[in-house]
Point group: C2
Chain length 426, copies 2
């Protein structure tokens, strides 16, 4: 009647999920479309930087030896034999006591070995300047390769492309960028109690919020969401739609239908499909009734119909698979240590993941729940940018205690956050 | 010949920029498209949550008074008169010693005032259960409005829509969401030294990286980028393109052409347009030659051609105007305190903004430069997620000192980060 389920620990659950292979795929997009995507190859410097010896200032390119006798008392006169704008080249060899007017970024002309900044010269005429001090070979020259040597790995494969990475891609001529194909994640909402967002409230009903929330979570994690709509609690309809969806996606998420109530069909559907259930109960709150299964090379996630549980289930179990499918080596949420900003007196038989908000106070992180932690409450989700990790078996937490948190908006990620989680000292 | 410019302090420069009005505009998008946009209105709870008294568990709805005599020794028998799935309503009034099987989320039937969890009942038959203890009125009932009252402001206008906010929008029936129209920011790159990204390197030339970097920065900040291409250093062509671009955008950014070299036309173009120059030199490194002007209700930014200076100029002067144009009340980068991770021995005559990376170490933030800080070096941009703020007039910094940093990827923002910046104690 009531199915008996054995809960497993969070770390074990995540391990079972990521022990499944992913097959990242590469595609090419134009550099204009590359922001926010994940690199499918290491970004290599395709040439030295600078690519040629160049001037870092507006000034005059000189032969340094010509200034050997220069001083305030004995200014030396030079003949201006030309000028080089950035992007141009001076083709002749510069002779003794000749200088070339040079712009920032322009290449050092042949024969010259230093640059004098404009402000340190005295202009006598368009054709003559005075220099009043000694300059050494190499003064104010940016040498070829001094910033970066050709072939250097500048950014690792699997890194999310930020504006700085875009600048590097452009600098090194990557007009077409090899990026990870975005995994397609299907979403099905189940539950006869669900109304569409545009329907008026009715007795006993609530609007379908989980599906839209997950679509946004998929987008935040870097995937491509495909929404298959909202199904009633009808076994045959759910099974048919699940089969249809599986054919079109890389992973599939259902919300609702995972608990042990009479109308919850996910276990039966997984059985009918022949999927291998990795677990169907996790020792955590919220989200204990999360089910994850694999079918061939596809993952099927049965997330709870409860919004908070659904949110947490996505971040813990879907996100790492999604990120791994984009070559990312730090696929989990980044775990950092913070100070608890308020008392949290509830005892935790299981690991508790509390939606919270991080604040920076004098160089330290302080995390406080973003709302009342009652799993039915959606209103605390809006302000959450982290999840407090409160291990099970503790008797509650006090303000000022050290806790671990998982950052939700951070792009750094973590290789494996599930070891050595700070426990309450109570 | 060489134009004399008077540098102003960073805070004063930002103040002059944001003293210009912005005119945010509203538009409606479907909830599926709302992630990442900025709310144009406060998000109000359109009904109580829960919207009706409901069961938080699978169990039986009871009249609590019927359990007054119940105990282990004296289990009380109840008749099961129906069941309610989530989304359904039980229409009759429940009579003494009757119970209704109820699913999580389903409304409490008339006459009942408590719920007994499934595990605490003993099933005798489909029609009869035993209850062995007393329950009180209200036990296991989620009352209408106990989470959120209708009319409550749940999320403020100007907030960036994250997955949790999407869940709230769905819950409260916002199928069409009022969001800020994304300001259109034009980008023009200037400089005869610039190659297109797909062109091979040539003597004296570099590829145009700034334009693509800024397009990504605009996207990260939430705006819509429009690229007008790369122009040679030709006054008439630049002027014509600038006029054309201004007609199509809300703000315009040019990169390059702002220093005092002979081929830098931005000042002349601004004069020709009749724009009011707010400043053309800022006491900071990099980016001292940043120029900002206003023309009617449009801002024109003359950012440096140097990639680092251009990057910083965008984040300091463009981002806040862009965010303000999306109703955002915290338009500047968030400033937080961190510990300097390495020595930074260079003296700072001006405020220095160093591209850096933040790490979390035992609950504290540690910031270290993400590469050699030489303004021509693009390679340090890829790894940067913050800017170190090193005020001018200092003699260098040592590892372990307290510094302020501006977070680049953070979405929280700051109302005004430019007061009380931590100075070196040297």
């Amino acid at each position: 009647m009531v199915e008996k389920r054995k809960p497993i620990q969070v770390a074990e659950a995540v391990k079972r999920v990521i022990s499944n292979d992913v097959m990242p795929q590469k595609e090419y997009v134009s550099i204009e479309e590359s922001y926010g995507r994940f690199l499918a190859e290491d970004l290599l410097a395709s040439h030295d930087v600078p690519a040629f010896d160049r001037s870092p200032y507006d000034g005059f390119a000189i032969r340094s030896e010509d200034t050997n006798a220069a001083s305030s008392e004995n200014p030396v006169s030079f003949t201006v034999v030309g000028e080089i704008g950035a992007g141009y080249v001076f083709n002749e060899e510069v002779q003794p006591f000749q200088v070339v007017r040079i712009m920032t970024g322009a290449p050092i002309p042949k024969g010259c070995d230093a640059v004098v900044m404009l402000e340190l010269t005295k202009e006598i005429s368009e054709k003559e300047i005075l220099i009043k001090r000694l300059f050494k070979k190499g003064d104010n020259i940016s040498y070829q390769g001094e910033d970066t040597k050709k072939g250097t790995v500048l950014v690792k494969k699997g890194t999310k492309i930020n504006p700085g990475v875009v600048a590097l891609l452009a600098t090194f001529g990557y007009h077409e960028v090899a990026v990870a194909k975005q995994p397609v994640i299907g979403v099905i909402a189940t539950g006869s109690e669900l109304l569409n967002v545009d329907e008026p409230l009715a007795p006993g009903k609530i609007r379908n919020s989980n599906a839209y929330m997950i679509l946004a979570q998929i987008e935040r994690a870097g995937g491509k969401a495909k929404y298959f709509g909202k199904l009633d609690d009808d076994f045959d309809a759910c099974l048919a739609e699940t089969k249809k969806a599986l054919a079109e996606v890389d992973m599939l998420i259902t919300t609702g239908g995972v608990s042990v109530g009479d109308f919850d069909y996910v276990p039966a559907i997984l059985k009918e499909l022949g999927a291998e259930v990795l677990f169907n109960k996790v020792a955590m709150r919220p989200g204990s009734v999360t089910t994850v299964a694999s079918l061939g090379d596809k993952m099927i996630y049965g997330l709870s119909g409860n919004p908070s549980a659904c949110y947490v289930g996505f971040e813990l179990f879907v996100r790492p698979m999604l990120r791994r499918a984009m070559y990312n080596a730090y696929p989990h949420l980044q775990k950092v240590t913070a100070t608890l900003g308020v008392d949290f007196p509830k005892p935790n038989p299981f690991m508790r993941l509390v939606r919270a908000k991080v604040e920076y106070q004098n160089g330290t992180l302080v995390a406080s729940p973003s709302g009342v932690d009652k799993s039915g409450i959606v209103s605390s989700l809006g302000g959450a940018d982290c999840l407090l990790l409160l291990p099970g078996g503790t008797r509650g937490y006090e303000k000022g205690m050290t806790v671990d948190v998982l950052l939700l908006e951070d792009q750094q990620g973590s290789e494996w956050p599930w070891d050595n989680i700070v426990a309450s000292y109570k």
